[in-house]
């Protein structure tokens, strides 16, 4: 056995195009390919996002139209012209779900983006600007984290009333606390890693370090957490709406539709008016969760345990 052969077997098989004096710009990223449950999650989530965007154009009626003006009975079963039946005020359930999709998903998405913006800026800020700032920010954050989210929501709605901007701001700031903690932890953990040190010693600029060293390592936890946060925000907004403190009637929203039509369970000929909006929320959040679970299983499964 000759020496060069021996050497070849010890070194990990490198890509032919990569040599030692020409390192790749970023660490090689493992390609993520969803499993079967991942695909199911992606398909259903995409379906709801498309409905959220195009719902108002696809809906057969307006959200407060009465398709059967001569019919005053509540909770009618599905029939010609109202595929999913009609609700407590004789409106088409399917049209209202399609209008509500945009509102429910839009509010939740905007709130999650806001939570991420505030949380990441503050979290990274706390990680880089010294122990004193960090301690003050962390203590304030802990106080808010130790409150049940629904109680914070109730206090805010009681103080300033409920409207869509209020809902987005409230949910955004409430969930920014969790993002703050996560991004601070990730930032602190990565900043002291040897490879960041090495990059600094090599003389790399701050931008290079953030985009090439920190981001590839912080990416997976942050993206999967974004999915989780989106689920919690959807549940939070829907719960508030269900309690009558979120999106106000006559605007359609999945949570408030369940509330409005609760009587159908007892008295109605058709129970679709309460089943369908509840099912819509459940399919949306469960499918997002399937994606999150799939992605985090791919990345070592730490997030699925933490949830």
């Amino acid at each position: 056995m000759s020496a060069p052969d021996h050497h070849e077997h010890i070194v990990a098989p490198f890509d032919a195009s990569v040599s030692f004096d020409e390192l790749p710009d970023a660490p090689p990223s493992q390609a993520y390919w969803p499993s079967a449950t991942g695909w199911i999650g992606i398909a259903i989530t995409c379906f709801w996002f498309l409905i959220a965007i195009f719902g108002p154009w696809l809906a057969p009626y307006g959200e407060n139209d009465l398709p059967f003006p001569d019919d005053y009975s509540e909770f009618q079963a599905s029939r010609e012209g109202a595929f999913l039946g009609t609700d407590v005020e004789d409106r088409d359930v399917m049209s209202r779900i399609m209008y509500g999709a945009g509102r429910t998903i839009g509010i939740a998405f905007a709130a999650t983006l806001l939570a991420y913006f505030v949380g990441v800026v503050m979290g990274i800020g706390a990680a880089v600007s010294g122990p004193r700032v960090d301690m003050v920010l962390s203590r304030i954050n802990d106080a808010f984290l130790s409150l049940p989210t629904i109680m914070l929501g109730l206090v805010v709605v009681a103080a300033v009333g409920s409207s869509i901007p209020v809902l987005i701001l409230t949910a955004g700031f409430i969930y920014a606390t969790v993002v703050f903690r996560l991004s601070r932890a990730i930032g602190m953990e990565i900043m002291v890693m040897d490879f960041v040190e090495a990059a600094k010693v090599r003389g790399e600029g701050r931008w290079w370090i953030i985009t090439r060293e920190i981001w590839p390592n912080a990416r997976m936890p942050l993206i999967t957490d974004f999915g989780l946060r989106l689920i919690y925000v959807i549940l939070f907004i829907s719960s508030l709406s269900f309690l009558g403190l979120g999106v106000q009637p006559p605007q359609a929203d999945w949570g408030s539709m369940v509330r409005e039509n609760l009587g159908a369970l007892q008295f109605g000929e058709s129970k679709l008016a309460v089943i369908m909006p509840a099912l819509s929320i459940a399919t949306l959040t469960v499918s997002i969760n399937l994606i999150v679970d799939d992605v985090s299983a791919h990345g070592g499964g730490k997030l699925s345990k933490r949830m």
């Binding site: 914070l152 206090v155 103080a159 509840a278 969760n289 949830m307």
Partner: protein
Amino acid sequence: MYGLILRRLGIGVITVLAVSIIIFIGTKILPGDAAQIRLGQNATPENVKAFRERLGLDLPLYQQYLNWLFAFVRGDFGVSLASDVPISSLIADRYLNTVYVSVLTAIIGVPISLALGILAAMFPGSLYDRVLTFISVSLVAAPEFFTATLLVLVFVTFLGWGNAVVVGSAEGKGFFELIVHFALPITTLCFVIASQLIRMSRAAVLNVMSSPYIEMAILKGVPRRRIILRHALLNAIGPIVNVVALNLAYLVTGVVVVEVYFGYPGLATLIVQAVQTRDFVLIQGLGMIFCMTYVILMLIADIAAIASNPRLRHPK
């Protein structure tokens, strides 16, 4: 260890104070004040002024806060703005319903979910494990009112048992009568906490299973059942108690939704009504009760984690 627990208790007290400040300020930034709301639109400015003095609203904010806090500690929650009834008597009528449902959920839901989760950890990758994981992944993300709707459809609509709302009073009922009385709310909440508990207890046991001393036991030839019940479970107790306390804390949200869904009077429906009528004194009192329950359960979770972990118990 005691130092650590004492420190954690201290942080708990500070947290409760911080929470009280948040709730107090939150209910103070409203337009108009308590005197105006209480007296209505037609009150003369003199009336409002006199009433403000009686309620202590003319004092500086910090003094109002301290007065409110000390009254709260003494158990004096004040008088409801909407109904002019002392809040303690409003609560007295309703708190039992909330307590019954939460406690019964804990008594029934926790042991079942832990057993299911540990069983799944005993046979990881089996069909049972995979089905259970899929169900709990699905249920963990579903809203409470979806689970409640499913239960009503199955039990009330198709099987024709009972009613879609909780009717009547729980007063004077025995343990099993109470379970029947609150069957639907309890089952809903059990599903809510079960999905989390199953996942987390399974993960806690599996986490211990990957440690070297378990590998040693396997190599020694100890039977699998004995390894899990005698070796792994004892070390997983800390994380599991932690998970249980955390999930009982999450019940706070679930209880609010379930009470409104099944339409029976409890503390949660009371706070929702208070928000709708903008009854700030009532919101302050109930908000403190809910938040303190939550903080105390979180505290128990932390202390359980410290007490059960030798590395935390004897810090270097």
